[in-house]
Amino acid sequence: MTDTPMIRMAAVDKHFGELHVLKDINLEVERGQVVVVLGPSGSGKSTLCRTINRLEPVDSGTIEVDGRALPAEGKALAGLRADVGMVFQSFNLFAHKTVVENVMLAPLKVRRQDKAAAEKNAVRLLERVGIANQKDKYPAQLSGGQQQRVAIARALAMDPKVMLFDEPTSALDPEMVQEVLDVMTGLAKDGMTMLVVTHEMGFARRAAHRVVFMADGEIVEDSTPDDFFTNPSSDRAKDFLGKILTH
């Protein structure tokens, strides 16, 4: 059983109306693996990420998390989502809850933990992301980097099997990017299974086991970071890297 991949996508297709956003996607992410998804804007990276917990339903194909096919909308799907952490570009912290309440809410309501245990765990996680001293503030009172670290703590509070990140640093001022990447690197070191959509090449080189390159809804390359950055095989990847590096 331990060799079932944590995420398995097979022959996945998806359209938005006429637009074919995901074309025959086949992707497996092993336990403990960190996979970085790269690609130009509009290539379908976010959509790919969001199909894994069915925030976007697909047209056809199979998606399995930890060996279980994604259930249809309903209680079973909610149960599966509880095991899949997700971090958004725009943080999406609950605006009407304080930082510590944000982290506690799902453990309380979804996992039915008791309040004391949930709070203790929340504070521990906020310490881990370096933000415990802000725990009674509201999200709007924090900087972007701080909000994103809270969002990571909120996802971790559910003790997820895998974490999905959709451009977690793209909405941040440059000086705050590193504090978020540091938290993510720490997670990767601790053996968390991660799928990360990002434009941070440094993170891809340092923390990723694999790089998946997408263009026009297709997975064009799937290799180690070393191979991808030094020796990309497709023209589209070469073109992409050329643009990024001259930036």
């Binding site: 917990n53 925030l55 909308e73 209680k75 909610a78 149960g79 599966l80 989502r81 509880a82 095991d83 899949v84 952490g85 997700m86 958004f88 725009s90 999406n92 912290l93 609950f94 605006a95 009407h96 809410l105 799902a106 309501k109 979804v110 509201y138 709007a140 969002a151 909120r154 996802a155 559910m158």
Partner: protein, 215 residues
């Protein structure tokens, strides 16, 4: 003044009827309206369709027609024997709930979609997403227009009275039977309604100010 004092029993009974009708219908319409709003934003297509059709029909039907149906047509259907009071409540609830639904729905739509997505991604069910995340944030946009709808409901109870005498708007019929001055009598009814509506309006203004300055 004499018309009022001589017939104080009528007025008391009438306005008590109004208040009863209003309270029951207000609570009922809020509950039904919230359920309809949940349907209209739910992921289940049939529920969404039902909510949409319901709201569009009821919002575009004159209240008089709704009440007329429950006053005269419903008893002939011989489904269940309901008192006029109950039938009036049902009519007012069904009608007002359509407006409540739309106000809640537009309040819900002001909450950024990312809030619901984050909540779903954490494993909240649809109901939990609504009750824990979306509705608490929608409240500040929803309360002032809801108060408006309830004020309209209070005035609409008179329409229910058009078909019966157990309510304030029906007082004039009883007055004319007693041979009192109907015109003066009606003025007092209007004053009574003002007394009921003014506190609601003040409450609504107050809430409006409170919510618009909060955060």
């Amino acid at each position: 003044m004499n018309v009022l004092l001589d017939n104080i029993d009528l007025y008391a009974r009438g306005f008590l009827g109004t208040i009863e009708l209003f309270v029951v219908s207000a609570i009922g319409s809020l509950i039904l309206g919230a359920l309809l709003a949940a349907m209209r934003v739910s992921p289940v297509p049939i529920l969404r369709a039902f909510g949409t059709v319901y709201v569009n029909i009821l919002r575009n039907t004159p209240l008089t027609l709704v009440i007329f149906f429950f006053a005269f047509a419903y008893p002939r259907l011989e489904i269940a024997d309901l008192s006029y009071f109950t039938r009036a409540c049902i009519g007012l609830i069904l009608y007002t709930a359509a407006f409540v639904c739309e106000v809640i729905r537009s309040g819900v739509n002001t909450v950024p979609v990312g809030q619901a997505e984050a909540s779903r991604a954490l494993g909240f069910t649809f109901t939990q997403t609504l009750s824990q995340v979306v509705l608490p944030q929608a409240v500040r946009n929803v309360v002032p227009p809801l108060a408006n709808i309830q004020i309209a409901l209070l005035k609409n109870t008179t329409i229910a009275a058009g078909f019966s005498v157990t309510e304030a708007g029906g007082i004039y019929q009883a007055l004319s039977e007693r041979g009192a001055n109907v015109f003066v009598g009606l003025l007092w009814v209007a004053v009574g309604f003002l007394i009921l509506v003014v506190p609601l309006t003040l409450l609504q203004r107050n809430l409006d100010r409170r919510w618009s300055t909060a955060r």
